[in-house]
């Protein structure tokens, strides 16, 4: 009897986890392990013959000052974006579930920045930062606005932050909407009857029930910020003079542009470990806050 149920357990596991495991292993796990294996070889280009070199690539990566600098810059970018993306995203979701008449149209409108890929986005925003804002600055006599944003290291950095918030908060909004809508109405009503004001209701009832959404959105915004590449490439190309070169761009340049494939691949693995530790900590600590029914 016990044996039979164990067998059934195995069967169930296979049924429920089998397909995912299979596809996950073939696309992510095996190539990833193979990718680590590749870092043990000296290859200038991905098409080169593989020459075993031990930890040479990792030593190179450790020595690569630019890599660590770009990682530090990326960390600043993470700090600057994660908070705002989540705040704006939640704010939008709250707005469009608050029962306004036009909320369906608003949902669609707020979502549109996600649809437009990096290339065109880079162009539109380049035009705004390089031409439109300076023109406005010139007309209104605002000194610091008169010059193009993308030529100043600090302003170019904030340009990236602004576009990131603008582009991804709609995405987070969708996840928050799903969470907000799943909150049982009776809980909200009960608290209203109890005399809780809108603000208290938000903090005491809504937010605690939104933890599953926040686990996902904080994780996603962390991950997106650490891995940012498309926007970086389309908007600033790392400039002016490498001052906004984020770590992904550094790794891609190293591996595929500057003919240091092995080192670039090793840096990608190091990047993975660092980001995995950071996000792992976030997920582990916030998963504990999830309410289990």
């Amino acid at each position: 009897m016990k044996r039979g149920s164990k067998l059934a357990d195995w069967g169930n596991s296979l049924l429920f986890l089998g397909p995912t495991t299979l596809f996950f292993a073939m696309t992510v796990i095996i190539p990833f392990l193979y990718g680590i294996y590749l870092t043990l070889f000296k290859m200038d280009n991905p098409t080169d013959p593989m020459v075993f070199s031990g930890i040479y690539n990792y030593l190179n990566a450790m020595d690569d000052k630019d890599f660590w600098e770009s990682l530090w810059l990326t960390l600043k970018f993470v700090f600057a974006t994660v908070f705002f993306v989540n705040m704006v995203g939640f704010g939008l979701a709250y707005l469009v579930t608050s029962g306004m008449k036009i909320q369906n149209s608003l949902r669609t409108a707020y979502f549109t920045p996600n649809l437009i890929g990096g290339l065109l986005l880079g162009y539109i925003w380049q035009f705004i930062f390089v031409q439109s804002l300076p023109a406005i600055g010139g007309k209104m006599g605002i000194r610091w606005l008169e010059l193009g944003w993308l030529g100043d290291p600090d302003m170019a950095f904030w340009a990236l932050v602004i576009v990131t918030i603008w582009q991804t908060s709609g995405y987070m909004m969708i996840i928050f909407i799903a969470g907000l809508i799943s909150i049982p109405k009776d809980l909200i009503e009960a608290s209203t009857i109890d005399g809780a004001g809108p603000l208290r209701r938000l903090f005491n009832v809504t937010l605690p029930l939104m933890v599953p959404s926040f686990v996902v959105t904080v994780f996603l915004s962390l991950k997106n910020a650490f891995m940012v590449y498309d926007l970086n490439f389309a908007l600033t190309k790392g400039g002016p003079f490498d001052s906004t070169k984020m770590v992904s761009m550094h790794v891609v340049n190293k591996a595929f542009v500057e003919s240091n494939y092995g080192t670039g691949q090793a840096e990608a693995i190091i990047l993975f470990v660092i980001v995995a530790v950071v996000t792992g900590f976030q997920v582990y600590s916030s998963k504990k806050m999830e309410v289990e029914a």
């Binding site: 995912t20 596809f23 996950f24 696309t27 190539p31 939008l92 920045p113 437009i116 799903a178």
Partner: protein
């Protein structure tokens, strides 16, 4: 009291409209610039076009190989999304309800896998599925779908995970007593209760796969199997893009998703309404 309520509601509308303008203007730019020549786009991107001329769209449809690339993109996106959603919902359910040591490790690996830089997997994927197994040209579309399931399931499982946790166990136990198997319990009881998040996850997957360039550009080597984003590279130049064709092409690519999104949002609301009637 009533006055205050009206004030807050006006205030909410003002904020909503300001946000609306900020968020929708690129879409507006996309539409007005679809009707302009390269010169007009570069010189005055914000002004209305001099004429609403649809002839560029015909050119785009031809150069995009629209009938073929739309079909490919549609097939790849729908099949991948359906499979991702079902497989991940099942896996997430299992991981929540059977929190054994192995399952916890598996979940951790899944979450960690999402932060693997994609660039570090490009060459391994090429080596394994191209050079070693040589399947890239034999079954490009099924292979791409398999890749999407592999890359997409981690995030979807992760999102389902938190939401499944909040479903009361008692309901399932009741079903179990009625004689439902685990699989039946899952499909009949659990999945319907997950409708808002399921539709959301489906939307996010469609959005990603529909617009994805990097993965299909690696796997698809033949024009007959290209997706729309891959085909769109015909409008890119080394130094300057062919905006007058690229912009209408982008517009045509994203309209289907916008429609899908609007239908999806309706479904989410409908799902919730049904739930509350019960």
């Amino acid at each position: 009291m009533a006055k205050r309520k009206i004030m807050t509601s006006i205030f909410t509308y003002v904020i909503a409209i300001i946000a609306l303008i900020c968020f929708i203007f690129p879409f507006y730019l996309l539409i007005i610039n679809s009707f302009k020549s390269n010169g007009e786009i570069l010189v005055s991107p914000f002004s209305l076009p001099t004429s609403w001329d649809f002839s560029q769209f015909a050119d785009v449809i031809e150069k995009m190989n629209f009938a073929v690339t739309f079909k490919n993109t549609f097939l790849i996106t729908t099949i991948s999304t359906i499979l991702i959603v079902f497989f991940s919902a099942m896996s997430a359910y299992h991981l929540v309800r059977k929190p054994s040591k192995y399952n916890k490790i598996f979940f951790t690996i899944l979450v960690a896998s999402m932060v693997i830089p994609f660039q570090s997997l490009m060459i391994p994927l090429m080596h394994i599925y191209g050079a070693k197994l040589q399947v890239i040209d034999v079954i490009p579309i099924p292979l791409l779908i398999a890749f999407y399931i592999g890359f997409g399931s981690a995030l979807s499982i992760f999102m389902f995970h938190g939401f499944i946790k909040s479903i009361p166990l008692e309901i399932e136990e009741a079903a179990r007593i009625d004689g439902c198997s685990t699989l039946q319990t899952f499909f009949l009881i659990v999945l319907p209760m997950l409708k808002p998040i399921t539709v959301t996850i489906a939307i996010l997957n469609v959005l990603w796969i529909w617009n994805d360039y990097l993965l299909p550009s690696l796997v698809l080597n033949n024009e007959n199997v290209y997706t729309m984003p891959v085909q769109m590279k015909v409008f890119n130049g080394t130094y300057m893009n062919n905006w007058e064709l690229l912009i209408p092409a982008i517009l045509m690519t994203i309209v289907p998703i916008l429609i899908m999104y609007m239908i999806g949002q309706k479904q989410i609301i409908k799902g919730v309404m049904q739930g509350s009637i019960k």
